[in-house]
Each structure stands twice: as structure tokens, then as C-alpha cells.
Symmetry: C2
Subunit: 386 residues, 2 copies
């Protein structure tokens, strides 16, 4: 995103798939390919992209690499650092760094491609990507559970990881107050009847629907017997699964229609997410903003990634943003959390980089920046002050 | 391994586990922890290490990180680049680069830890590691199959990936001539009765033994009906599973008792492994070494990682090594394969680094080396000539 005097370069015409090896499960493509288009293309090979995002219809794979995008399949299929096999990047000197390949393993020298994954374009422009792909699951199951309290929610996840193990592909958490608020904004009904303090959306990806359903039923029966589930539903149709997912997606999208939204994206131990949400609400209240700001707490429980969306109703209020920033980032720094799990640093969080990384580490990052981009022309202003 | 005038630093007293978070499935430990000891320790938490190697009883986790070790669980649990969450490294200046953490996601600035993964100690000494762990499987199944020909072997893998999907944890290939040779050296019987041109060892890791066995039976029945399996056996006891694995481990270990062994570790498309083994045998024969050198072709089929062990009987013969080096590395360069999949560059392959990476890329690696280690004191002679 240009903010001052930058030149914007679009790669959208570099949208060709170079090759797909369906035995190896690998692909090479140009950076301007749209994520969803790639996913569609891979279906006929029985494969799928290892990442999935809300923005899949418009985001480019080159951007996914440059931001080290996480998304909804992260828990199961892992990070871009693990899935990108190679890339080409044009350096600010005009030189092309070509470490493109589709080899799953290549231990020859430093893994230079890693520097470009998540560099937000500040070292060069990624123009081609080699990717490890995932097998297209034959069975996808979606369930939505309400937990009677926070420890129960943690135990639902613990049991899901143990009982569903290899088919568990998502475990998303929504806070009860957050669901009330977004249901109100969306004019929708909750997937479960009982109002609970915390909810979890669980998705499985497997190769055999019958076996997966049997596992899910066993898991649910055991969870109910253990008293950790207060209410729950299994999607019995695509439409029902979509409705369940709309709750999770609504957390991110719906609030924008109600007021001004400030997004937070914290990496932290999942067990402490409740504490963070509670304290954020308290901070807003203590600062006297209880009437004009609402907090939506949700996130990728299985990945230790909490999102907090603060909705200022009806419009932007700098004082609210300042109060919440101070609390959320300060608390993250004090606890050793990261101020950005999957959304990078950019301009907004530039001043908070040292909240997560030591001054010494940031100094080394700057040396890397100077090595590749001595004139500071690549995505200037972002990540570090020029 | 010291070769000239190096000082060797042992980290074996830095062997403490710092903490284990069993809800998050993450751990921090010192670099001198032995891999197998960590794995044992994690069992009580229902967790396991994401890597497994033949050398697990003696190798240190710091070394696993510094060499970006691959191993037997790679296909399922992925690379160190994906599983290492943080680390501490002592730089040659004496400064400590502290990017230790246990956060699964952290997109704040360049991912500095990645440079130290696979750097073979040439940038600094890794002293602490934060790791993402795997869930301990409740069911482990092992089968050994013989294929009537190479395309059938490829189809066994294709079908296994599709039918066993999420439980598939290893797909190891052994060439028929290789198995004959190691059975002869080991004085052992093959797990299957029929002598086949290619064999595949398949292992599954799952959460439910009954469901896994049902999936395996279905897979086997379908593979037999498709005519891609000539003979096969499912391990019905731990002892039988161990016997099957001893075939695969024997490929690496047994030849050392028969003569001098030269190891190769090539990253390449699995579909072309047969061609590489055939041509290597031909190269040995054409060079007139058919009587004194035998080739054992095997490897991680699921990861595109071929091992070739050349056994010179009864002792080292420089001419044989030279002939095979020339062929294997030359062929790898011409085809765009990598001359090292999981064993790094070290001293032996230093001259072959540019077979895999362009001169321009190696020049950038040297700049990184100079940035961290301007005096060239860290693991000198290795990777690059001083």
C-alpha cells in the first residue's frame, strides 16, 4: 500500500502456472497468480494449496509469500517457511536472485529464499514461487461447539488434537460476547441453541468420510461425557458448514459495517487468550470508552494466534485506538508475545517492532536490509523508519 | 568434524529442557539435548519430536537445527524450517542473537532464525531451540510391498497418498538389487517372499488403530486389484515392524561392514529415481569397476530424496569414487537436482555447491557469511573455501 511517494508495481499480468508435478505434489508459478485460481486449477490433480485465506479471491501468491501469510489451514499444513520450496526475486540492483526450485529438500548453503518470505517486499520483489502442495481431502467435516467455561474450551482442543489427530485442520475460537455482537450486526442465528461463554469451530480434512464421521462422533460423545461441551452441532450439508464458517468470517468482516475497526493480531499461548480479551475489555472500560467501543475476541486457537477487533461506534476515535494500542501492545511486550502473528509490520506497527524483537536483533535485520537494498528503495517507510 | 586447525566446542553439557507447553505443543530446550532423550521425555505429554533419525541416540538438537536435518518423519511433519519456532545463537563477535520463542506465528521483521537453520555452524553457534512438536500417534502401522516394475511403484505411492492421506508418515523405496545385496551382507530374509525389482516401505501414524487398519486393508486390496503390488506384508507385531525397518536402515548401515562406502544424498523428482540408479550402475560398469563396486539405491520416495551408497569392495578406491562423483554430481547439475538433500555441504561437497546454486546466489551467501563472521572463524573450510 503506497502512503507517500512510492511507485506501485503490479504483477497481476505475471499469472502463469509454470508446471505442476502431481506425483511429487509440487508446483511452480508466477507471483501474480491469484490464490483461489491456483486452488481451482489444482483440484483436477487431486491437490490443493497449503494456504487458505479470506482474501483468496483477490490476493496474489507472491504477496502471500512476501507477507508469510498464515490463514485457516495453517495448523494442519504449516507455514510458508515450510511450504515454499523456491523462488525468484528481483533485487533493487536489478539482479535476479534465482533460488527457484521444486525440490522438497535442498541443504546446500544458506536458505536464501527464507529471507524473502515475510520480508514485505523490503528486500526485493518476488516474481516466481515453487510450492509444496497438499493432497485434496476427500472428506471435510465442520462442527461448532459451545464450552461452559475457558478451561473446558482448552480441554476441547486438547481432546480434539488427541482424538482427531491427523484429520484436525482448524480449531477456531470465538468469545461469547463477540458472537453476541456479530450475530446482532449480521442479523443471523447462532449455529447452537445455548448461549455459551466460548465457542470453538472445528474442521477436519480426511481421506474417508465414514471413518472421519465415526471419529467425530466418538470425540463428541467423550467430550460431552467429560462435561466440556455445553452445546454443539455437526454440519450435515455444505450450506450448514458455510453458515458455521460465516460466524468465524463474520468476526473479521461484520464489524466494519457497524463502525470503525482497529485490528490486532497477537501470537501468544492459546491458554492465555481469555486473559488478554478480558483485560482488553477492562482497559477500554477503565479509559471510559465502554459506551463507544466494543471488543471482538476470536482467533486461530490451534495456532496460538489471537485476533482482537475493536469496533469504535459509530466512527474513528483516536483516543480509543491509543488506549487499546497501549494496552494490547504493552501487554504483549511484557509477556513476550508477538505484536504481529500473520499481518506483518508495515507502517502501522513499525514503532512496535522492538516490542517483539530485541534492539540487537533489529540491528541485525537492518544490516540485512542494507546488504540487499543499500539505497532503501524497496517498500520504503515500511518495517523500519528510513 | 575438525579437519585442520579448528577448535571443537562441545555443547553436551547444555542439555536441559527449559519448558514444555503441552496445550500449545511447543518446547524450549538447550542445544546439547540428545534427540532420543527429548522424544522419550515428550511421551508423557502425548507429544513427540517432529524429526526422527537413525542417529537419534547420539545427535544433539542444536546439530539437527544447524544441519536442517530431514530424516524419517519429514514427509509427514515437515522441515526444520517449518518446525523451529525460535533459537538463540552465539555470534562470532560474542554477541548473542536471541530470537528464541515458542510462538507458532511471528511475522515481525526478517525471520533471522532461518539463516541459522542449515548454516552448518558457519554463522554462529546455536545454543537454544524452540520447537513445534507433533502429537504422539496412538497407532503406528508398517507395511512392506514389492512392485512388479517402476511405474507400479510410482502408482503405489500415488494411491497411498490418496487413500491413506493424513496417516501416511513414511514412503521409503529400496531398489531390488540393493535389497539382494544388503540381505546378503546382513544374512537376513526379505520381509516378502517374491523377489521384486522395487520395494516400498509404508508407515502410517494415526489416532485410531482400528480405523487405520481398515484403511490399510482397503488400500492394499485396491492396489492388488490394480496389479501394482506383486507381494506385500503388514507387520503384525513390533518385532515384525522392526524387521521391516531394519531393511531400510540396513541400506545405510550394512554396507560399511562389506567395504568402503561413498554416500550420495540427492534431492530430485521421485519419478526419476530409477533412471538415476540405472545410470549410476552403468557409469560404474563402463568405467570398468563392475567387479569392485556395488550400488545401493534407496531413499525417501515421499520426499524426493534419493540416497545412493557406493560400496567399494573390499577397500577405498579413489578412482571409483571419482568416477561415481563425476557421474552423480554431473547428472544432478545437468538436471537441476540438488547435490545435498539433507546432509549439507561440509568439506566434501564444497566444490559442488555451484552445481546446485548459481554463482550469483553463492555470492549473496558469501555476503551473509561476511556480515555475521567477517573473520571467517566459524566452522572454517566448510561450505565455502576460506
Amino acid at each position: 500500500v503506497p502512503v507517500f511517494d512510492e511507485v506501485v508495481i503490479s504483477l497481476k499480468k505475471m499469472n502463469q502456472v509454470i508446471d505442476i508435478d502431481d506425483l511429487g505434489g509440487v508446483m511452480r508459478c508466477e507471483a501474480g497468480c491469484v490464490l483461489e485460481t491456483l486452488d481451482e486449477r489444482l483440484k483436477e490433480h487431486g491437490l490443493m494449496m497449503p494456504i487458505d485465506l479470506g482474501a483468496k479471491g483477490s490476493c496474489h501468491i507472491g504477496g502471500n509469500v512476501s507477507t508469510a501469510a498464515g490463514g485457516l489451514r495453517y495448523m494442519r499444513y504449516g507455514s510458508m517457511h515450510g511450504n515454499v520450496l523456491g523462488l525468484k526475486a528481483v533485487l533493487p540492483s536489478g539482479e535476479v536472485l534465482d533460488v527457484q526450485n521444486t525440490l522438497r529438500k535442498d541443504n546446500t548453503g544458506y536458505d536464501m529464499k527464507q529471507l524473502f518470505i515475510g520480508a514485505e517486499g523490503t528486500l526485493g520483489i518476488v516474481t516466481e514461487v515453487g510450492l509444496q502442495l497438499a493432497t485434496l481431502p476427500k472428506s471435510v467435516q465442520t462442527i461448532f461447539l459451545g464450552a461452559p467455561d475457558w478451561p473446558a474450551l482448552c480441554n476441547i482442543f486438547r481432546r480434539a488434537r488427541s482424538d482427531l489427530g491427523e484429520i484436525l485442520s482448524a480449531a477456531e475460537m470465538i468469545d461469547g460476547e463477540a458472537l453476541d455482537l456479530i450475530l446482532d450486526i449480521m442479523k443471523e442465528r447462532s449455529p447452537v441453541e445455548k448461549r455459551c461463554p466460548y465457542y470453538m469451530l472445528i474442521e477436519t480434512n480426511g481421506s474417508n468420510a465414514e471413518a472421519d464421521q465415526a471419529k467425530l462422533m466418538e470425540f463428541l460423545a467423550a467430550a460431552e461425557e467429560a462435561g466440556i461441551v455445553a452445546d454443539g452441532t455437526i454440519a450435515e450439508s455444505g450450506a450448514q458448514a458455510k453458515h458455521i464458517w460465516s460466524m468465524r468470517e463474520g468476526c473479521a468482516i461484520a464489524p466494519t459495517s457497524a463502525g470503525h475497526v482497529r485490528w490486532y493480531d497477537i501470537s501468544m499461548p492459546s491458554v492465555n487468550m481469555k486473559e488478554m480479551i478480558d483485560l482488553a475489555r477492562e482497559a477500554v472500560s477503565v479509559a471510559g470508552f465502554a459506551d463507544k467501543a466494543k471488543i471482538i475476541g476470536f482467533g486461530h486457537f490451534g495456532d496460538g494466534n489471537l485476533h482482537i477487533n475493536v469496533v469504535t461506534i459509530p466512527e474513528f476515535d483516536a483516543a480509543v485506538v491509543e488506549a487499546v494500542d497501549r494496552f494490547v501492545y504493552g501487554f504483549s511486550r511484557d509477556r513476550g508475545y508477538s505484536v504481529s502473528a500473520e499481518h506483518g509490520i508495515g507502517l502501522q506497527k513499525r514503532g512496535y517492532l522492538t516490542y517483539t524483537k530485541s534492539e540487537a536483533t533489529v540491528a541485525h535485520m537492518r544490516k540485512i536490509k542494507d546488504l540487499f537494498d543499500p539505497n532503501g528503495i524497496m517498500n520504503p517507510y515500511k518495517m523500519f523508519a528510513p
